[in-house]
Structures are given as structure tokens and as C-alpha cells.
């Protein structure tokens, strides 16, 4: 995005058709069913990783039509921001298909992945959407940074600063955000990987808080990123757009976050997948996003590892992989808590579905990001291993694995085991997983090996690809 384009977004925000937020939501809700029908998009609860290329292409067309019809919505001006089809496709096809994330020896190349691609997933980690305590956030970051298969870090959301609750828009927000940026950089340095890409600092809620983390000497750098959000669904604000203005001026990676809700305004899985694909296109148009977080979620439970959630990953991922050059990472939100077999089974299902459908891996939010400190390095290692082991699978094979894996957690999915926080699963002195957590990790890994997935050695494919 050139700066003139951002000016154009502001101009359209000020002059587009007026519409109350409720009217916009209803317009979306009424438009989606027609598109699902017109383009013949069908969810099948027994084919969670579909292999219908034509449906993937139709889904992209449906998303394009939806965006042309509705446009985005600026909640500050209560106006729609409209785009033509040519504008959308022009911007999307000019978007990067590969990026160098991080710096110097620790940089990784994130490439566009096609369907059933042999290109290894870049593995993001960190406490994806998970609240962290001040005390354990540094150790949690260290546990992720030290994992060799983890390529990038992301910050947790820490709600206090020296014990005081952080009030958004106050100096405490800046102090807390800068502390978090420094904590992550320090974790990367201590792991001997000072140039690791950091994809976000999650604590700040305002533009000022976010951009205060850009501190090249000790915090975030131009080789890092920050999230800019689309509010549910297709909504932006001047606070979000202002982040884009600052980030593009310093050269940071703009990361587009969306949270389409399965069962929400888009209806079921089909409509939500269309919305998710369209949100990716919108992330390019509004924010000039470098890459995207494919962050849909179940409406009533904060998870994307139920059947509909997995299908949305696979179907929408394929639509994007086949029809755009865009780069997108998942955000696996499990129902189960950390330190349980179920959390690993949920991760495995999503990891496989996403890997064969063109996504990269964005990390794990255990308990749907609802419980403090339910995050560690080990489940991110596991996610990476499963993803690399899945390289080369056909979608039919992936679907069989996913259905088999679902049998291990689906029954308890909506009444999941609570698990334990980081402090009970890691040795705080050595930052190593305790035997209890390792034993669970090996038990599930062994089961996957028996199913035929080479979890322990599959990561060799990553290096073979590099050679």
C-alpha cells in the first residue's frame, strides 16, 4: 500500500454510504446464504479436509463477490468503505508471496504454500492469544524460543504492570507493552536467536500502546510485526488504520488479524469460510498486510478444532492457496487445557488440516486463550513436528488422519479437561518440561507414529526442502 492508498481509505471512510452497524450486520447475514447457494459451497462433517478444487475456486469467487457487495465498515464514521472487483484483485495480486521474517542468521523465509505443498510451514509460536502472568511470561517465552523447530515468537497478553492493572490509554499501557517487547527480545537473545521474528506484542489495546513497542535497540524492529485487527465481521476503525500508517512508515510487517465466528453472522461453516477468505482480501486492501492470521472461532466456545472449525481451515485455506499469493498462518485454539492428551490431539488435527491446505502454523492457544499461563514451548514443538510430518500427504490422506484423531478428543470436546498452567508443567529453574508433560507428549506422539505419521523424524523433510 502506498500512503496515497491509505488516504483513499480515509476518504472512503468519510464519504462512503452511511449505514448503522446493525444494518451492516444484517446486510451481511442476509447476503451470505445467497452466496453459499449460488456458488454451491457445501460443508460435509465427514470430509473435513475436502479435495474439491472446483469448490475451493468457487469459494474464492463467492468471497470476492461478497466483498464487492458489502465493502468494509468503519465503526468510527459508520460508513461503508466500498471497493471494485478490479481494485480488490489488483491489490491482492500485488501482495507479497514470500517474506523474510526476522533478521540475520535467525531470519526465515515464509513462502506462499499451495495445496498439498512440499514447502515446509514456518512455525510461529508464543502464547497465541493466551493471557500470561507477569511472573511466568518471560519463562514461557524462553520455553518457546529455545525450541529448535520454532521459527518465530509472539507475545502473550499480560494484564498487569508491576502488579497494577493496566488501564488502556494510560501510561501503564505503554510501560507494560514496552516491558513485554523487551521480555520477548530477551528470550530470543538468551536462546541464541536474537534475530527471531516477533509477530506481535499482544497486551496493548490502543494504537499508541502498540507502536510504543517499536524499539529497535531492545524491543521490536522493522523485521518484526504487529497485529492490526478486523473486528467481527469486516470492521475497522481509525485506531486500527493508524497502526498501519505508523508501521508502514518504519517498515514493520503488518499482520492482519481476523476472527470470523462460526455460527455467527455468516451462519455455518460454509458462510464463515467465505467470510474468512474475504477477510484476507480485505486485510490487503485496508492495511496492506504482509501476512494474515486465519483466526476463525466457534461462536459459543473459543475453539477452531471442532469439525466445522477444521473444515473452515481446510476449505478456506485451499481457496486462498489456489487463487491468491497470500501468506496466512493458523491460530489453533483448543478447548482442552495445557498438559493433557486432548490438547495435543486437537493440535494434531488442526496442524494436519492446515498443512495440506496451504497455511503456515501460527501457534497454539490452549483453553481457547481463556486461562492464564496455559501455554508453553512443548506443544509448539509438537505442532511443528506434526506439521512437518504431514508434508507430502494428499488431502484424502489428511482427511483420514483428522477423522481418526478426532476420535481421541471429540467426545469430551465441549466439556474438556482443565489441564495445568505452565508453572506446574515446567521446571522453573531449567525451563524444561517436567516428566509428566513429556510423558503425555510422548504418549500422543507414539500414537500418531502408530497411525503412520512420522512425528519424531518428519521434520527432516524441512531440511531436505532447504537443500
Amino acid at each position: 500500500m502506498k500512503s496515497e492508498w491509505l488516504m483513499e481509505i480515509v476518504k472512503r471512510s468519510e464519504n462512503g454510504p452511511y449505514c448503522s452497524e446493525k444494518e451492516y450486520d444484517l446486510l451481511l447475514a442476509k447476503t451470505i446464504p445467497g452466496l453459499v447457494k449460488k456458488f454451491g459451497i457445501q460443508y460435509n462433517a465427514n470430509v473435513l479436509v475436502p479435495w474439491d478444487d472446483d469448490m475451493a475456486d468457487r469459494m474464492y469467487q463467492a468471497a470476492l463477490e461478497l466483498l464487492v457487495e458489502l465493502g468494509a465498515y468503519n465503526i468510527d464514521t459508520q460508513r461503508r468503505i466500498l471497493f471494485t472487483k478490479d481494485e480488490i484483485e489488483g491489490a491482492v495480486f500485488a501482495a507479497p508471496s514470500q517474506l523474510i521474517l526476522g533478521s540475520e542468521k535467525d531470519a526465515v523465509v515464509m513462502r506462499h504454500r499451495g495445496v498439498e505443498s512440499q514447502v515446509p510451514c514456518v512455525i510461529h509460536s508464543g502464547p497465541t492469544g493466551t493471557p500470561c502472568s507477569e511472573r511466568y511470561h518471560p519463562l514461557i517465552q524462553a520455553s518457546c524460543a529455545q525450541e529448535p523447530l520454532v521459527d518465530c515468537l509472539g507475545a502473550g497478553s499480560v494484564s498487569t504492570y508491576k502488579g497494577e492493572k493496566i488501564i488502556p490509554g494510560t501510561p501503564l499501557e505503554i510501560l507494560g507493552s514496552q516491558r513485554d517487547a523487551a521480555v520477548i527480545r530477551q528470550a530470543a537473545r538468551e536462546a541464541g536467536r536474537p534475530g527471531m521474528h516477533i509477530n506481535d506484542v499482544a497486551s496493548p489495546l490502543t494504537c499508541v500502546g502498540k507502536i510504543s513497542t517499536y524499539q529497535p535497540d531492545w524491543g521490536l524492529r522493522a523485521s518484526d510485526g504487529l497485529l492490526i485487527s478486523q473486528m467481527v465481521e469486516f470492521k475497522t476503525s481509525y485506531d486500527q488504520l493508524s497502526r498501519a500508517a505508523y508501521m508502514q512508515s518504519v517498515g514493520m510487517y503488518i499482520v492482519d488479524l481476523m476472527t470470523p465466528l462460526v455460527g455467527g453472522l455468516g451462519g455455518g461453516a460454509e458462510g464463515t469460510a467465505i467470510i474468512t477468505v474475504a477477510s484476507h482480501l480485505l486485510g490487503v486492501l485496508l492495511y496492506n498486510a504482509a501476512y494474515h492470521i486465519y483466526g476463525h472461532m466457534h461462536l459459543l466456545e473459543s475453539t477452531d478444532t471442532d469439525r466445522m472449525g477444521l473444515w473452515v481451515y481446510a476449505a478456506g485455506g485451499q481457496a486462498l492457496a489456489r487463487n491468491t499469493p497470500l501468506l496466512t498462518i493458523n491460530a489453533i485454539y483448543t478447548q482442552a487445557g495445557l498438559g493433557t492428551e486432548e490438547v495435543l490431539w486437537e493440535i494434531a488435527a488442526a496442524s494436519i488440516a492446515c498443512t495440506v491446505s496451504g497455511l503456515h502454523q501460527g501457534g497454539v492457544g490452549a483453553t481457547g486463550g481463556s486461562r492464564t499461563d496455559h501455554t508453553s514451548g512443548l506443544e509448539n514443538r509438537f505442532n511443528a513436528q506434526v506439521s512437518h510430518a504431514s508434508l507430502g500427504l494428499s488431502r484424502q490422506e489428511a482427511n483420514s488422519y483428522v477423522l481418526e484423531i478426532l476420535r481421541h478428543y471429540e467426545e469430551s470436546h465441549m466439556n474438556p479437561p482443565e489441564g495445568k498452567p505452565f508453572s506446574q508443567l515446567y521446571n522453573e529453574s531449567t525451563v524444561e518440561p517436567k516428566p509428566e508433560w513429556l510423558e503425555i507428549y510422548h504418549r500422543v506422539s507414539d500414537s500418531l507414529e502408530k497411525m503412520g505419521l512420522d512425528v519424531y523424524n518428519g521434520w527432516h523433510r524441512k531440511w531436505r526442502f532447504a537443500l
Binding site: 444484517l26 447475514a29 442476509k30 451470505i32 446464504p33 493471557p131 497478553s157 494484564s159 492493572k165 493496566i166 488501564i167 488502556p168 490509554g169 497486551s203 489495546l205 473486528m231 467481527v232 476503525s237 465466528l261 462460526v262 455460527g263 455467527g264 453472522l265 455468516g266 451462519g267 455455518g268 466457534h298 461462536l299 459459543l300 473459543s302 466445522m308 481457547g368 486463550g369 481463556s370 492464564t372
Partner: protein, 216 residues
């Protein structure tokens, strides 16, 4: 449900506003009391809609559409009612996402559920200051203030509203505070002094009924 109510039931489920209103008016003109229509048809239908939504067998648009039909029926049959609309409105509620939090989907679901269950709900939106919430509750003469928050950083503002309401005998007497959202637990709500906690939209309705003295 009696067979005579089936067409109205289907109109609500399928979100057909004009048909639902026409059927309700026809029933009233035919001698049915509005209260009968609500208790024998609309409430059981909405309970069914809510149950299906809780299993995601239907989705948010269907819920919203059902609520729109019921709201339109309430408006349409008001002239036929003896006395006031209080016969079909169970209570008045202001609902808001607290200051510092922009998440509204949970609030919107609770609002829709409360409306389909017969409550008049004023939605104050997101990122709403404590004073604005209490002022709106006074102006509406609400019985319940419902607060939503997703972010952990919003918890102090939920507590702030509760403290503000409880700090004055007048507001403490007038308003019950119901809270819910991703960052809250039942234990936290209790410790903060909330009158009720809803883990989800369905529990929010149940707790609202209890706070209004309408335990079933």
C-alpha cells in the same frame, strides 16, 4: 403446543416478520389474549430456538431473525392489550461492553437471547464508561445492568461499575448487576460483588429470570 399455533411458530423460527405479525393479529382479533399467545406459543418456540442455538444447530442470523419477529409482534399487538405492555415485557435491561473493551459479539448474543425471552433491552454498545452505563439505567428505569467483557484488562472496569452501583443505597436498591464474558469466572464475579453471572447467553437468561424473581 396446540396445532393452531403451528403457523405462528414456523413464522418465528423462519424469521418471517410480516407473516408472524399478521398471524398474531388475526389470533388476537379472533379472541385470543396476547398473554396466551406469548405463554402458549412464543415462549416455547423461543425456548426451542435457544436450545437449537446452544447446540449450533441454528446460527446467529436465525436467532436475530426470530427476535425481530417477536419484537414486531410485541409492537403490533400492543394496541389490543388491556393495560400496559408490561404484560409481555418481563423487565428492562441496559447492556454494555465495559470501557476499554471493543468486543461485542458476546454482548450481542446475550442481548438477542434476552429480547427473545421477553426483556426490553437497551444496548449501549462497546467501550462504555461506568457513569454512562448507570445514567442510561436510570433513564430507562432498568432493573438490571448487564456487563460484558472479553479482555482481562477490562476486569477493573467491570468491578468499577459494580462498585459504583453498590456505593449508593439508591442505585444498589434499583439495579442488579449481571456480568459475563471470556475473562470472567463465576468465582471472580462473586468476589467482585456481582448479583449474577452468566457463563453463556443461556445462563444469562436463567440468571436474569432469577434476579427478576421469575424462577421457573
Amino acid at each position: 403446543m396446540q396445532p393452531e399455533y403451528e403457523p405462528l411458530c414456523q413464522a418465528i423460527i423462519q424469521g418471517r416478520v410480516e407473516e408472524g405479525v399478521a398471524l398474531a393479529i388475526k389470533m388476537v382479533e379472533g379472541g385470543k389474549l396476547p398473554v396466551e399467545i406469548f405463554s402458549q406459543c412464543i415462549e416455547p418456540t423461543l425456548t426451542d430456538v435457544g436450545d437449537k442455538f446452544s447446540r449450533l444447530e441454528i446460527f446467529l442470523p436465525e436467532m436475530i431473525n426470530a427476535a425481530e419477529v417477536v419484537k414486531a409482534i410485541q409492537e403490533a399487538i400492543r394496541p389490543f392489550m388491556v393495560g400496559s405492555s408490561e404484560q409481555v415485557i418481563k423487565g428492562r435491561i441496559v447492556i454494555a461492553t465495559v470501557f476499554g473493551d471493543l468486543h461485542d459479539i458476546g454482548k450481542n448474543i446475550v442481548k438477542a437471547m434476552l429480547e427473545v425471552n421477553g426483556y426490553q433491552v437497551q444496548d449501549l454498545g462497546v467501550d462504555v464508561h461506568t457513569q454512562q452505563i448507570v445514567k442510561a439505567a436510570k433513564e430507562m428505569d432498568a432493573q438490571i445492568i448487564a456487563l460484558s467483557a472479553l479482555m482481562m484488562s477490562s476486569l477493573p472496569f467491570v468491578r468499577d461499575v459494580i462498585d459504583y452501583v453498590k456505593s449508593s443505597p439508591e442505585t444498589a436498591r434499583r439495579f442488579k448487576v449481571l456480568v459475563g464474558g471470556g475473562c470472567m469466572s463465576r468465582e471472580w464475579a462473586k468476589s467482585a460483588g456481582a448479583d449474577g453471572y452468566g457463563e453463556n447467553a443461556f445462563e444469562a437468561v436463567t440468571v436474569t429470570n432469577r434476579l427478576m424473581g421469575m424462577d421457573q
